[in-house]
Amino acid sequence: MTNVDTSTSMESPLHHRVAHTNAANAGVVMKEDKFRGQLNLRGNPQDAAFTSAVEKVLGVALPMAPSSSVRNGDTVVYWLCPNEWLLIVASGTQGQVEADLRSAMDGQHIAVTDISSGQTLVNLSGTGVAELMQKSTVYDCHDSNFPVGKVVQTTFAKTGTTMCKLEDGSYDLVIRRSFSDYFFLWLQDASDEYGLSVS
C-alpha cells in the first residue's frame, strides 16, 4: 500500500528554487531531500506494548532521551517531546509504515499522523554553514552544545525548524512547506557573503 501516486508529477516545496547566481565556490550548499515520508507518532513511552510494537515495525528502539535521535537506513526517528516522535522514512513508504504501525499497535491509545505534505527536509552543508547557523538560529550549534545526532526544535530566522547535526558536519532541517519560500529567501540573503549553491 502506498499513498503516493507516482504517475502524477509532484512538486516539492522548494522545487522552484533550483539555481542561484552566487554559486561559484559556494560556502553554503542547500539540498532538498524531496518527498521523504514524515509521520508524527504519539504514545506512552512507559507502555512496553507500545514501545515494542514500534520497535518491531521500525527495526530500531524509539529514542527516549530528550533531543536524541536514531537512524536505521532510510528511517530516522527524532525525539520531539516525552511522548511524541517524528519518523522520517523513504519517499513513498509512509503509507505502508503507517499501516504497519497501526496494525502492530491495534487497540492501543496512540496516534500516527502522516504529515509528509506539510513539511520538507533540507540539508545545509559547506564551509560557511556554521556561521550561517549562528546568524539564523538562537540555538548554540557549537559541537559542545549540539553534537552529532542531537535533535533540536527551535527558531530559524522567524520560522520554526527541527534540526539535527549529521556526522559530516552538515545540518538536516525539517521546515514547514508554508514557510519554505520564506526560509529560502532568508537563506539566500544570509549566505550572500559565502555564496549559495542549490543542488
Partner: protein, 107 residues
Amino acid sequence: MHHIYCPYCEEMREEEEYSYTGEAHIERPKDPAAISDEAWADYIFFRSNPRGIHHEMWYHAAGCRRYFNATRDTQSYKVHETYKMGEMPTITAATVAANQVAKGDAS
C-alpha cells in the same frame, strides 16, 4: 538574551522559543453548577497579579510544545525555577521571605 530551563527538553533555551500563558495552579471547580456566580467569576476572570513571586504557566512554543510551570519574580523578571505540570513549586513567596529574614536583609 534570556535563557529559561525547559523541564521536558532538560536544557536552557532562549526566551524567544517560549510564550507566557498565565497564572498556574488554577483548578477548575469540580461541580460548576453547585457554586455561586461569584466563585465562578473568580475562577474565570480574577488572577492574583502579585508584585514579586508568581507561579505561572509557560509554553515551549518553538520547542517541545509542552506547557510547564515557572516561579518568576514579576519585579525583577528573575525565573527562580521551572517544573513540570502536576508538580508543585519549591520556591514560594513564603520561602523567599523566610530566606530574607534568615539573611537579615528583610526590608
